[in-house]
Amino acid sequence: MASSGTSSGAAAAARGARRTERLLNLVIALSATRRWLTKEQIRAAVPQYADCATTVAFERMFERDKEDLRELGVPLEAGGEDPLFGDEAGYRIDRDAYALPEIDFTPAELAVLSLASRVWQQASLAGPATRALVKLRSLGVEPDESSLVGLEPRVRTSEPAFDPLYAATRDRAPVSFAYRRAGAEPSTRHVEPWAIVSWHGRWYLVGHDRDRDATRVFRLSRVSSAVKRIGRPGSYDVPTDVDPREVVAGTVGERATRRARLLVRTGSALAVRRRAVSVTPAPAPAADPPGDDAPGADLVEVDVADVEVAADELAAYGDAVLVLDPAPLRDAVLRRLRGAAGTSPDPAPAGAAP
């Protein structure tokens, strides 16, 4: 686990091993007992707690250990036989609540689960995904992956805001963060997270923006501060009639499409032709004048969602693609061409970021 053979790496590995030992002994001690164990009993039962010189240090370490075990799904119960016991309550692990039931996964089911866990391979939930699979595989079934060979759907979470926003979404806890919009100063937003969505390779948060009292979409890569919780878990309801993907798609993605008619030189703009609704040879007068030995042209119809995005693509083909209509698309292409030709008087915006 230590990445190098240096002495500090070796020391870190030794500390890590000692911590694992401590946690394992703690799990065994709390599972082996039927009675509640007090903190003092636990401190005596787990040899590695002897590393703590003071009670304060032990209690701090024990608190951290409890949290680690809960994150791993180990159900640590706190309680006691005697309600008058108060603070000195005890702890134990209920073995029935702890244990994975006997579940008969088929080899094909285990194969899809295995593939499902790898979706997160380069993402935040990689750890939990791997741990889950190791647990399920310990039931003894070998996955049959023959029908899934070579299929690798993957997500990435390179945005630092993913972890806290995922956790806030999971816990339904309101948050605040600084958010930077294109070309504007960051502003602080107060949001009730509803869902977190990966759309065309980018992560978005969908939620209720408290300041604007409206549903809003936030791109995670534009969160420019730490994410702070500003309320308790479970302190709001998520509407059930909202499809978060549609909200994201409606905000950042496909809007209603309209049909564009293009005059495309024969053999050119292959990527445009590939998604064309129709391609028909263009009537002669519309194409290049007779006598010219230029190649012919086709009338190509495509559906366009965003005029600026489409204009970016079409302008790049230069004189191989002419837009007949709609007028806004034609104007957007002409604006780019005039800009590139240096005949445009105004520095009109062109080439929006993809």
Binding site: T130, T169, T343
Partner: protein
Amino acid sequence: MSGSASTERLSRLLAMVPYLLRHQGLPLEEAAEHFGITTDDLVHDLELLFVCGTPGHLPDDLIDARWDSGRVYLSNADPIARPARLAVDEAVALLVGLRTLAEVPGLHDRDALAGATAKLTEAAGEAAGRAAEAAGAVRVDVRTGDDAALADVLATCRRGLAGHRRLHLAYLVPSRDERTERDVDPMRLVTVAGRWYLEAWCHRVEGVRLFRLDRIEAARVLDADGTPPAGAVSRDVHSDLFRPSPDDLVVTLDLAPQAAWVVDYYPVESVQPAPEDAWERASLRVRLRAADTRWVRRLLLRLGAGARAVDPPELAVEVREAALAALARYELLDAGSAGGPAGEPGPGPGA
């Protein structure tokens, strides 16, 4: 969220004990492979188990692990003899993964997906409700939209992969506006930034290449073995997608503020504030690698008044001429629609 190395390891140990208890005498290599670790890691894990046990920690209290014969025997581990239930995040990760798979076009094993989802809920026990709710709030989009052609191509590629058959592709290279024909041996289908790619050994260039599925015009399974050569190694698609090649040419561009996004989007060699003698609208001067000048020319046409080519100088001339040629054709078109075909010859192609 990903947990520390020691909690990762604890989780593995808690899963390993039940498995080894049920599979007494398993060869070390097989046990290691089952958990996806090396035999050295496994031996370290067994050494750690060996010193843990119930309070008292006398020899009789400790877990008994033996592996000196090359086979693993484990006993005296009753309190942790069964694997733990799934934690909330663990169930969420798998549930979201399963739903993502369910949306992959052409993944036909619906029974396995439905069965796995149902049994997973059981495996999460008390955490199942929270996990299902949280999983519902995490969405990953790998759909191919309404693009039926793309779904077809994906299905064809999967047939090639499953049957180890060679594929014939008609592939569009937009930077050159070219249609290429090639035979490839498929290696895997992978999503990068929400797009599907086929990674394959390409016989035309004799190398591993990534093909964007929405640029495959047609795909056909060939009646030929499609096992890639031994030297074909999968690449780290995330870092390699835009890997520049030493043969690339380097161009220098001046960018106006509205085109500054280019710096984030394409691999640039260097970025600096626009120097004194730069184009008057420029805020940045960047050096950019490109495999092909046609690609840069297309980028510059698209950027319009947002950018100017600095070097090589002929690039600026080329872009200007391409734009003028297109504008001239528009004029001709307008004249044509106003009063019939124009009598003078059209401008030549800008290329």
